[in-house]
Amino acid sequence: MEQDPLKTYWLKVYLWLQGLWLAKGLPLWGFELITMVLVPAAIFGFISANTMFLIWLERKVIGRIQNRIGPMLAGPRFLGRISPWFGGLLQTAADAMKLLLKEDILPARADKWVFYSAPVVVFVGAFMTYLVIPFGQGMIVSDLNIGVLYILAISSLSVIAIFMAGWSSNNKYSLLGGFRAVGQIITYEIPLVISILCVAMLAGSLKLTDIIEAQRNGWFLFALFPVFILFLASAVAEVNRSPFDIAEGESEIVAGFYIEYTGMRFAMFFLAEYASTFVAAALAATLFLGGWLPPVAVAPFTWVPSFFWFLLKTYLMLVALITIRWSWPRPRPDQFMEFGWKVLIPWSFVILFLTGLGIYSNLLWLVSLIFLAAILGAFVAHRSGLAATTRVQKVTI
């Protein structure tokens, strides 16, 4: 693997510090021990700050969509004066602070230990996935050779936590939410795994850095367009985000599994949801949009630090997810399961087969093109069908 010497600042900083440490005559294990504490702490800090920023961003983006300006008061005022779209930067921090000070209520006859540990499990599960996310060249905590598998395994933890929360709260709404979450996450894990399998087949590795390197000659978005769609659909369902947030179902089962949680325990669920949304977007950026690779490998683009490209792509994905989230109605749970088992899973096998065929015959671009045409065709047909239905209504009504 070719390492760009200019880009590996973090590795350089690490080696430089290590050199300083060793020059003092101190033992190597001491340095490793310190990094073992400091690096996770730094990651944790990044995750928290990033999650808070993400929540603020979401509120601003939906504010823009919904003809309002979103939070304005918390945070540096001068930013708000420059443009309302910069105001309220510290709103999430203020909200988190408020939640910290709230009373921690244990519902009557709740299963105490399960109830208390559920938010911790979901929090840990969401944050552990960050260990293998390649934020930039050389900016990865642990470059596991089964990185993708690791993310899938860890993110499956969340379903256990959600069911723990739903079961232990002693509330019928949360029980319903728990039921829904289990069914949903188990269903949508299958197409998710298959979509990642297609990527692994093409890249020839489960290691995330290898997958990125494999995209030097072109993003997998183009080669694996149908897989990208499949991945997006199942990833949104997997992280429990609207429109597939049937486990929360705010207007139906109020808040679903976390209805009984207050204060910081609620905040942990909330932060975990955004943290895993970020991971889903980061994974989409890594698997399909070339991760930290610049869009074009020519001069001005290659000067930009690699983590900038990664964050840019991830945030683009996030804004897309946010827009979808607030615009679409939520499907009914049974229809949603039906869609998963009867449409998405069979199609994912077809896509897997076609991808394999495409890789074998070197005609992957053709498969992608056909799918793109099919989706565009379906879209056009849908739009014209829509026009037809409205016309019909106007006539018959």
Partner: protein
């Protein structure tokens, strides 16, 4: 199927409401659930009961108008209208043409505002948040105009027995023209968001189907009745005011499911705009806006039942007069109440998510149900 499940399951009861984000007020639904499936549903009402009918029986006729505002607080104009019309019919008062036209404009504006609130909350019930804010953006403009006329944004108290409380203020008609031109494309925009959305269509098509016969048996009225294909609109079939002179369609659905109720209301909004457009020209020359009626009307002894087509259906007032300044008996036939009665039958066997969609699509206002 070889063998049905041997796992023992237990039905459980869930109280949806009175505090629940999707019950539109203080409706309480006692649902008996088997997992997600509803075995039986029982609406429990009365949380907003204010004894309006009894209070009104202790008030003079002119004092009752503001009480009607508070029945269906989204359709106050139409509530005022029904009541004033009932008293006018009881006393044989003929009101000036101009007042009738102003009443039609205000009433239709109010219907638009009410349907827009319904659109937004229905979208919210289904989980789409943006649509709610879009519809409220447009409703805001209507409410601003109504505020210009009567100073209130929700409980208007604008109609009087024999006419209106005042003439149209200066600039009202210009603003009305601007508003109508603004709303026309916005309605397309709102419909674009949902009419073709696959998730929306699967959520609503074939859900909560009401047949024509059931609808009539339960006394449904308004959009829920029209969605079944039964063409019944008091503005057309029991014409009042100047509606016979106006050209408009009465949209009806086909199957009486949630989607048809949605489609009927969307279409009704267009028809309302059409009606307002027709009235605008006749309003330009000024004239009397109120018949010469004493403040304290004393209707002759007798009784009257008079109904207006409110945004929710047939809003009827039954008034018995004993010749004094107060009604002897004052009864309100609230459309939301009759429309709510079908819930136990409609909700049997659907899932929890459908309960919310059906309740939302029927569009009830609890202020009117409980009175």
């Amino acid at each position: 199927m070889i063998e049905t499940s041997t796992v023992e399951t237990e039905a459980f009861e869930v109280n949806v409401g009175p505090q629940h984000p999707s019950t539109h007020g203080v409706l309480r639904l006692v649902l008996k659930l088997d997992g997600e499936k509803v075995l039986s549903a029982k609406p429990v009402i009365g949380y907003l009961h204010r004894a309006t009918e009894k209070i009104c029986e202790a008030r003079a006729y002119f004092q009752i108008v503001p009480f009607t505002d508070r029945l269906d607080y989204l359709g106050s104009m139409n509530n005022n209208w029904g009541y004033c019309m009932a008293v006018e019919r009881l006393c044989d008062i003929i009101i000036p043409q101009r007042a009738e036209y102003i009443r039609v404009v205000l009433g239709e504006l109010n219907r638009l505002a009410s349907h827009l609130v319904w659109y937004g909350t229905f979208a919210l019930d289904l989980g789409a948040v943006n649509a709610f804010l879009f519809s409220f953006r447009d409703r805001e403009k209507i409410v601003d105009l109504l505020e210009l006329y009567c100073g209130a944004r929700l409980t208007y108290n604008a109609y009087r027995i024999g006419g209106l409380w005042m003439d149209l203020p200066e600039g009202f008609l210009d603003k009305l023209a601007v508003l109508v031109d603004y709303l026309e494309p916005k309605l397309d925009e709102l419909e674009d968001l949902f009419t073709g959305n696959t998730i929306f269509v699967t959520r609503t098509k074939g859900v909560g189907v009401v047949t024509k016969e059931t609808a009539l048996a339960y006394g449904l009225s308004g959009p829920p009745l029209r969605s079944t294909g039964f063409r019944w609109d008091l503005r057309r079939d029991r014409p009042y005011s100047v509606y016979p002179k106006l050209q408009f369609e009465v949209p009806v659905g086909k199957q009486g499911d949630c989607f048809d109720r949605y489609a009927v209301r969307m279409q009704e909004m267009r028809e309302s705009l059409k009606i307002i457009r027709q009235c605008m020209d006749t309003l330009k020359p000024t004239g009397p806006f109120r018949a010469d009626v004493p403040l304290e009307v004393k209707p002759p002894p007798g009784e009257v039942y008079c109904a207006a087509e409110s945004p929710r259906g047939e809003l009827g007032y039954y008034i018995v007069s004993d010749g004094s300044v107060k009604p002897y008996r004052f009864k309100i036939r609230a459309p939301s109440f009759s429309n709510l009665c079908i819930m136990p039958e409609l909700l049997k066997g659907v899932t929890v998510a459908d309960v919310i969609a059906i309740v939302g699509s029927i569009d009830i206002v609890l202020g009117e149900v409980d009175r």
